[in-house]
Point group: C2
Amino acid sequence: MRRRIDSLRETLHKEGLEGYLVSNGANMLYLTGFEGGSRLLISADGDCILYVHRVNYDAAEDAVKDCEVRRVDYGDDLERVLARRIESLGLKSLGFDVMDAQTYMKMEKLLRETELKPRRDVMWALRKVKGEDELELLREAAEITSMGMEKALEIVEDGMVERELAAEIDYEMRKLGSEGTAFETIVASGPNSAYPHGGRGDRRLERGDLIIIDIGARYGGYCSDMTRTVTLGEASPRKIEIYEAVKEAREKALRIMRGGVKAREVDAEARRTIAEKGYGERFLHGLGHGVGLEVHEPPMLNPKSEDILTPGNVVTVEPGIYIRGFGGVRIEDTVLVLEKGVEVLTRAPYRLVVR
Amino acid sequence: MRRRIDSLRETLHKEGLEGYLVSNGANMLYLTGFEGGSRLLISADGDCILYVHRVNYDAAEDAVKDCEVRRVDYGDDLERVLARRIESLGLKSLGFDVMDAQTYMKMEKLLRETELKPRRDVMWALRKVKGEDELELLREAAEITSMGMEKALEIVEDGMVERELAAEIDYEMRKLGSEGTAFETIVASGPNSAYPHGGRGDRRLERGDLIIIDIGARYGGYCSDMTRTVTLGEASPRKIEIYEAVKEAREKALRIMRGGVKAREVDAEARRTIAEKGYGERFLHGLGHGVGLEVHEPPMLNPKSEDILTPGNVVTVEPGIYIRGFGGVRIEDTVLVLEKGVEVLTRAPYRLVVR
């Protein structure tokens, strides 16, 4: 964690910021290794103070090595406490990641000598490029997810309720060490599969349904994200056509991915492939997003992204086609960007018909 | 949902607000029945517009009945779109629930004729008092949670790893209809139980451990929250003493709860009971919190709470004693506040020694 705080300090110096205030839980976890802090204040010149509510104070004292831990009690005015510390440290320009408007207004009033600057980009720049220690956890999360998917493809059958299949997948991943799930497991069948975030309800799977299975384990705090679409029994020519279009979009996108490539160009490559098959209007979302301590984080792969892919980025690649009333197909993997090309971290067959 | 929007409008009129902007997901779900909106704009006089990103637009169109649904595409400047609508509706005073500081600054600049007012209390006032439709879902969530706890108490045994027991509980609740879990299941054993949010790791349960099991199902979007503490085999006199103190604090708190009572007085009643046994400094958190679409929401039961209990509130009652290096005890139920007394929604034995 020392190394991460040092990297943040380097950025602060470069950006002319004398300090940085962290409120986002994942950012605090990233910098201190501790989940359950209330605020983290870091000065460019050496101070690091983690404010922790009484409920988590003992745990923080035992776990946090590189920062001073301060206790927050009921009735403490945390903004006032922070402002006093910021002033006593003499921080004239303070970046922050996120802050609720109401807190911001209060801090503005309290801090007459300090300029508050919304700079969440500072943390994203650090978190976007994963270190070896993070990659180890991301690989394990991906492996658990892949095994969950294999289980899903093994047991999926008609008559099963969406929610039942989701329960079995979650249980499998849990037994393999997943800490809950990275997001609520999606099993969207038949017409439900036409909604990218649909399903997980009481619908019974039927032969001929398109079934979207979108799952993710969490391991050591790190997420994974993976989707397969299958059908039971024979697939109609239209379903095969859609499936093949999505699969080709995936392959073409992966082929051009590497460090230095613009994220929106990768999105465009997949989008063009799907448009050529006549489904351009039905690819309803971006091609992908970063994955780390949060399941959706930068870099973003979409038509308006300003991100440039960098070795160490871990992102999803998830083209999809969704036709209202008919159904949808999405194929998604979690992928590590390398200097030359990519390493696909999740694995499971790409096969429309399962039985 | 019509009824809820009407209630919000009544409040707006009373508070002199001409409109309200919603960004919190649970608030949007509460008002529209739809999960997956980006922003919701409501005028006191009749307009209701849900802004939905393209990925969820089809689903929103099919599901949302009482509001106009507007599509948001990549590259759209949502703040600018909102500002234009707010101005064309002529809203001079606009309350909002939450807003990131950066969005707030931008909206402030865009809206020269409109005063922005942080008023999350407006939504909490509505959500704090549960309607019959909500109580039905909360009861079912509580029932699933209770059955999950019964399963836990049935299978817990020494040699089991914390995480294994958590997996079995989650699976049981999932099979009974839980939508994932309301929060990451806690199984904290031995010294881990001394941290209120500890555990869920790789520690093996041993005879004589205090084992805190803190679980919650989610059903129809609504959460539940419940804790039991057990030990395997014989309990030492100190463990029994701590357990009995927590149990007595719980009973005394429940005895004085009813509509009209100050939340902090209920907290004080439990705190006094624990202090009398000599553990006042080791009750490390508030007595409870509201439970609904979010697992932590108002009303709050803690020493500084300004809330007054009202019939229809659903809250946890969860006294605890935590001794670093030794272990902890917490007993928690989800409870409905009535005009006279309470109804305890979660059920499972209160028994320290399980086998």
